[in-house]
Every structure is written in structure tokens, then in C-alpha cells.
């Protein structure tokens, strides 16, 4: 009896250790399934909620070229949400259930989207920093053990790296522009820098999920490693822009071969996670309103499809 329980688990771990993907029909521990539903749906929700802060600037984008690029970017996020909800559905849950969890406040999404976008430079800063941080996490996830998630990530990463370059290019244009534009870029960096570092989650010492996530190759690097990689990538980019990262403790550490950086304000982090960010309520209210206002449309489409298929059936008879 003991064997029959241990066997699939051993087989499962062997596949992971040998670097094979776990596929939807494979046996998996319940905790692995639940962890993935949680992680993939949080990621999907982040894409969908993430449409709102940037969407805030679509109607005010400064040129037609920028407007089209921003629209296309926000649309890509809707597309990412769709693949990710589909990946989560392979684990035996529906998109409707997941969306209900979000709207009920039971599911989390990336806290970064609870910060407001106040100027056009925020659109540049989000692309550069927020997408830059997301990519570091997502490149790692292209090698995650769950097949549908890993494959979704490959596609998403390609688009995200394009978004990041687009964001950086907005920043570069601002920094080469007038003094007012440069100030706008600096102000955006000031506001988005620390929240971007928080995107990697609590420090390794505080993180509750890291150990099992590593064993199951859900994650392959710790929060602190990823955060360090982000800082190391980003500091030289800020130097090229000629704007200053708002951290007096930031300096190159020759011995470590990395940048040292200052202490993150974890009180702020946990406050935003708990719902006290500037835009938590507004973001969720907006998502709920879109969903509720669309209910009659979804019902009509379902009813119409049903009528059409009845018509085809009765014509066939």
C-alpha cells in the first residue's frame, strides 16, 4: 500500500530532477497543483490589473506613434492574461472561478499595480523597471517544471522584452529632451524604483514559499538573487540615462562583484500587499465594474450561440 502512494510521488520528483516537464495529465502532489493554480492565477491577475495603470495614459499619449505602441502593449497584457488563465485551467479550475477569487479580494496580484501613474514618464518607467523586473522573474519561469506554464512564459518573455526596450526608449527620449522632460523622468524613477525592487517579494529569510518551490523547480532562483540581478542590470542603464537612482547606499562592491543597495521599506511593502496602497481599492473596483457591466453582454453571447446551435440542429433534422 505504501508503495502505491510513494511510487507516483517518486516518479514525479524523478521527472523534475531530470529536467522533464510535468504535464496536465501527469500525476502531481495536490500541493504542487494548488501552488501552481495560485502562482499562475496571480500572474494572470497581475497582467489584467496591470492593464489599468498604463491604460490610464492611452487617451493622453503625447504622439500617435506612442499611443499606438502603448495600446498594443496594454493589449499584449490582455493576451498574456488569456494564456495564463488557460494554463491555470489545465490544473482543473475555471477562468470564472479565478476571476471571482480576484474580485472577492481572495487572490493576490502584483502589488506594483497599486501605485498610480501620474505622468507620461511613468509609462517609460513602468516599461523599463517594472517590465525589466518582471522579465528577470519570467525568464527563470521559462524553465519552470510545469509544462503549460513554462511554454506560456516563452511567448510572454518575447513580448515583455520588447515592452522593456520600448519603456527604456521613452525614458531615453525624455532624458535627451528638455529640462522639464528630464525632471519628469527623474521623478518617475524616484517613485518607481523601490516598488520595483519590492516586486521580487520578501527577502529569502522571510519568504515562506522558497524551499519547496526550489525542490519542485517552480522557482530556480531565490527572491534575493533575482533582486540582485535586477539591480546589477539596471544601475548602468540609469547611468546612460543620466538620472539618479534614489538610494544613497547604492554602490559597486568590488569584492562581491555586485551592487550593494539600501534597505527596502518592508512596512510599505506589507501595507500595499494588505490593501493599503494608493490604488488597491480603485484597481479592484474597476475590474469588478468591467466584469459586472459586461455580464449582460456575456449572457447575450451565450444565449445567441445556444440559439444558433439549436437552429443548426433543427435544420439538420
Amino acid at each position: 500500500m505504501k508503495d502505491s502512494i510513494e511510487k507516483p510521488e517518486a516518479e514525479f520528483q524523478r521527472k523534475i530532477d531530470e529536467g522533464h516537464h510535468i504535464e496536465p495529465k501527469d500525476w502531481m502532489p495536490e500541493k504542487y497543483r494548488k501552488t501552481h493554480i495560485r502562482q499562475i492565477s496571480q500572474h494572470a491577475h497581475s497582467e489584467i490589473v496591470g492593464m489599468l495603470p498604463e491604460g490610464n495614459w492611452i487617451t493622453r499619449a503625447p504622439t500617435l506613434r506612442r499611443k499606438v505602441a502603448l495600446l498594443a502593449k496594454v493589449q499584449d497584457e490582455a493576451g498574456h492574461g488569456l494564456y495564463l488563465y488557460s494554463a491555470a485551467e489545465t490544473l482543473g479550475i475555471t477562468r470564472d472561478e479565478l476571476v471571482d477569487q480576484l474580485h472577492a479580494g481572495k487572490a493576490k496580484y502584483s502589488s506594483i499595480f497599486n501605485y498610480p501613474t501620474l505622468t507620461w514618464a511613468d509609462i517609460g518607467a513602468i516599461g523599463w523597471l517594472v517590465d525589466g523586473a518582471a522579465i528577470i522573474n519570467q525568464v527563470m519561469l521559462t524553465r519552470t517544471s510545469y509544462g503549460p506554464y513554462a511554454r506560456a512564459m516563452v511567448r510572454i518573455c518575447k513580448e515583455e522584452s520588447f515592452h522593456q526596450r520600448q519603456g527604456y526608449e521613452i525614458m531615453l527620449t525624455l532624458c535627451r529632451g528638455t529640462e522639464v522632460q528630464k525632471q519628469m523622468a527623474q521623478d518617475a524613477l524616484n517613485r518607481w524604483w523601490w516598488p520595483s525592487l519590492m516586486m521580487f517579494g520578501p527577502t529569502d529569510a522571510e519568504s515562506t514559499h522558497t524551499e519547496l518551490s526550489m525542490k519542485w523547480k517552480i522557482k530556480r532562483k531565490s527572491n534575493d538573487e533575482l533582486r540582485q540581478q535586477f539591480v546589477d542590470n539596471t544601475v548602468p542603464q540609469a547611468d546612460i540615462l543620466g538620472i539618479t537612482i534614489p538610494d544613497k547606499d547604492l554602490k559597486w562592491n568590488e569584492k562581491r562583484g555586485h551592487y550593494d543597495f539600501g534597505e527596502i521599506d518592508w512596512e510599505e511593502f506589507w501595507n500595499v500587499v494588505k490593501g493599503n496602497g494608493r490604488c488597491n481599492k480603485e484597481r479592484l473596483d474597476t475590474r469588478r465594474a468591467a466584469h459586472e457591466n459586461g455580464a449582460w453582454v456575456r449572457e447575450a453571447a451565450a444565449r445567441y450561440a445556444e440559439k444558433q446551435s439549436n437552429k443548426v440542429l433543427s435544420e439538420a433534422n
Binding site: P62, V68, W120, T173, V180, T286, G294, W296, R303, Y304
Partner: protein, 250 residues
């Protein structure tokens, strides 16, 4: 002459821009992810077309204008779009109704413009026609879905059509510039499209089990620059950056 073609391009490009703007307001707020993506696609197509028209107009401009000067730096009365495309997104039925009533016209317009004597206009029309054929298909299908879906959707769709229908009268109206362009074989024959337009609109409405609104009165003014109260607010957002931070590169 080039000035008149420039003026003519505004009639076409302002419609695509303002309708694209209205759709862009919905990005992230659609009734489902799929419709959100589809409406954003249409908005992207319309802005792409707008850029083509305004880039062409910029080459004809005597004052060395850019596409963005044309898009963002005019006074309200200088915009030539019809009142229909300014109408707000009251609910999804209004969005679909506005889209359908415009798509039907847009499709017929482009069908004419592919034969324009101006090769640039003909080329833009050729490219745009493929996109607009899809837009018309999308909006016609949704008119049917909402018209023949549930009682609630039928009522909402009917209300939207009743509200928007009086704004269609302006579409085939011909201004002096449009008349002149028609006579030169550059522009479309708008009055000649009128019967076909209403036949097509009515056919879809009937299939959607919707009533054709009985009205003898049509609104007009947009083409002459006399817009609705909505237009000022659209421009407030559209022009915000260019007005607040003039003469900068973005």
C-alpha cells in the same frame, strides 16, 4: 490643389482618429478579455489608418507640419469628423451600435477610394479596406448577438440604435471639398452611397430582430466643425501633452 487634398484627408482621418480614441478608452474595461482584445485591435487599426492619412497630409502641408501637429494641434472647430464617432461609450450596445453604423459607411467609402485618382489615397484605402471588412464583420455579428440574444440585450441594443441612428444622416452629406474631390476623381461619391448604406444597415438590423428607427430628423454639423459637447472633452485628453508641454519630442 494640394491644400484641398489636405483638407479632404482631414474628413477621413479625423473620423478614424476620434473613433479610435473612443475605442481606446475601453482598453482594460471590456466585457470579456476576448472583446477587450478585439476592440483594441480595431482601435489600433483606426489609429494606424489615421497615421497614414496624416502622414500623407503632412507632405501636402505648406507649413511643414507633422502627423502629430495635424492630430493634436488644431482647434475644435477645425476637426472634420462626424458627430457619430464622438458619441460616448454609454454601454457596450452603444459601442457596438456606433461601430456598426460607422463601419458600414467606412466600408463603402473605402470601396470607392481604392479607385481614387490619387495613388496615395488609393493605396491607403486598399490596405484599410482589408481591416475595415473585418471591423464590419465583427460589429455586424455583435449587433445580431445583442439584438437576438436575451430580452435585456435586445432592449439595450434597440435603445442604442434609436439613439445613434439620427447621427447617420451626416455620413453621406457632401461638403464643398468632398464635392470637388469627387468631381476630380480623387474622392468618393457620398450621396450615391446613401441607398446602399441604409440597405445594408437595415438588413443587419432586421436579422438582429431590431426595429429600424422611424426618424425624419438627422443631426449634422461635425463635418463643418460644429461638434457635440463631447468633443471638447475628447480633445482635452487627446491634446493634453502637446498643449501642456509644447514643442517637445516624445
Amino acid at each position: 490643389m494640394t491644400n484641398k487634398i489636405y483638407q479632404y484627408l482631414l474628413f477621413i482621418g479625423d473620423n478614424t482618429m476620434i473613433l479610435g480614441h473612443r475605442l481606446s478608452e475601453l482598453c482594460g474595461h471590456g466585457p470579456s478579455l476576448e472583446t477587450d482584445i478585439a476592440l483594441t485591435n480595431i482601435s489600433l487599426d483606426l489609429f494606424g489608418q489615421t497615421r497614414n492619412y496624416f502622414q500623407l497630409a503632412a507632405t501636402l502641408s505648406k507649413e511643414d507640419k507633422t502627423e502629430d501637429d495635424i492630430a493634436f494641434l488644431r482647434m475644435e472647430h477645425e476637426y472634420r469628423n462626424v458627430l457619430l464617432v464622438e458619441q460616448p461609450n454609454r454601454d457596450f450596445a452603444y459601442v457596438i451600435g456606433r461601430q456598426f453604423l460607422y463601419d458600414c459607411y467606412h466600408f463603402l467609402l473605402l470601396h470607392e477610394l481604392v479607385n481614387s485618382n490619387d495613388e496615395h489615397i488609393a493605396a491607403i484605402a486598399q490596405k484599410s479596406l482589408k481591416e475595415v471588412t473585418y471591423h464590419l464583420d465583427f460589429s455586424s455579428e455583435w449587433i445580431k448577438r445583442l439584438g437576438a440574444g436575451t430580452d435585456e440585450s435586445h432592449e439595450k441594443m434597440q435603445n442604442a440604435i434609436n439613439y445613434l441612428y439620427p447621427y447617420t444622416g451626416e455620413l453621406p452629406e457632401e461638403t464643398p471639398i468632398e464635392l470637388e474631390m469627387k468631381e476630380l476623381g480623387i474622392g468618393a461619391d457620398l450621396p450615391a452611397m446613401k441607398t446602399d448604406y441604409y440597405n445594408r444597415v437595415h438588413e443587419v438590423l432586421k436579422e438582429a430582430t431590431l426595429d429600424i428607427p422611424e426618424t425624419n430628423w438627422f443631426q449634422s454639423g461635425g463635418k463643418k466643425g460644429v461638434h457635440s459637447e463631447h468633443m471638447g472633452y475628447i480633445l482635452t485628453q487627446l491634446q493634453y501633452m502637446q498643449r501642456a508641454y509644447p514643442n517637445m519630442s516624445w
